[in-house]
């Protein structure tokens, strides 16, 4: 129980700080902390493989990609006047509406969950063996698995096409730089 609250608190606090940070680099790092805490929760839920995959895929690959882009764009912080507006209560109308919607969503979810609160514990029979997961993934979910691979391929091609600079005659300044597709391509595993 203490472990649950420990990881839960870390996850919630880190996520809150993610959206409260002005500097995107700090946000990315705090999100990694949050993912680490979630990974701990997965261990508590007898899902060690998901926990490790969470670290490898999210923290090790996706977040590196984010960090990379933030560094590449040299982390422009939100403009100050916009920043002031980004705070709760002082926002412009659409923003205030958005904050209201988010609050309403949380309230609804909390209401629904407290109504259906079960104090029942988890039964035995957790599926934590990697072999069982793999068998299920490659038999029952084989079609979905294949579709995912197509999705990844499409995403890879799309990212390269989108991030690449148009082939206009190159100015001398640019010739020394690494081409953006070189920089972006490594992330899409």
């Amino acid at each position: 129980m203490t472990q649950f609250y420990l990881f839960g608190t870390v996850a919630v606090a880190a996520s809150l700080l993610v959206i409260a940070q002005r500097n995107p680099i700090y946000s990315v790092l705090l999100l990694i902390v949050s993912f680490g805490a979630l990974s701990g929760l997965y261990v508590l839920l007898d899902a060690p493989f998901v926990a490790v995959a969470q670290i490898i895929v999210y923290a090790g690959a996706i977040m590196v990609l984010f960090l990379f882009v933030v560094m590449l764009l040299n982390a422009p912080q939100e403009e100050t006047e916009r920043d002031a507006r980004a705070h709760l209560g002082r926002g412009s109308d659409p923003m205030r509406f958005g904050a209201l919607l988010a609050l309403a969503l949380v309230a609804e979810l909390a209401w629904a969950l407290t109504r259906g609160w079960e104090s029942g514990r988890f039964g035995r029979g957790a599926v934590s063996s990697v072999a069982a997961l793999g068998r299920s993934l490659f038999t029952d979910y084989a079609f979905q698995f294949e579709v995912t691979s197509v999705l990844i391929l499409v995403a890879m091609v799309g990212a390269v096409v989108l991030a690449r600079r148009e082939d206009r005659p190159r100015e001398p300044m640019e010739s020394g730089e690494t081409q953006p597709e070189d920089r972006v391509a490594p992330g899409e595993e």
């Binding site: 899902a47 984010f66 599926v127 979905q144 899409e188």
Partner: protein, 100 residues
Amino acid sequence: MPTLSHYLMLSAVLFGIGTAGVFLRRNVIMILLSIEIMLNAVNLTFVAFGRALGSGDGQIIVFFVMTVAAAEAAVGLAIVIALYRHRESLNPDTFTMLKW
């Protein structure tokens, strides 16, 4: 021992934080990060339900969510780079060319 409801509640809070981030932040990268928070909140729900039902399907869905998240991040960030190159800004309010 934490019950299923504990995990669902935690996941709801995380999802709410992610939603708030999408609504409140005016930086495309921050919005993408908030979406990652929401995806992770959902992942937690899947694993918790899978654990409660004693089935591995929850964890398998999480793998699919992860691949989709990876694809989304790759394409999303590529779009961010392309946008930044054209507008020198990351504020979504500046990208209003398709508005009429």
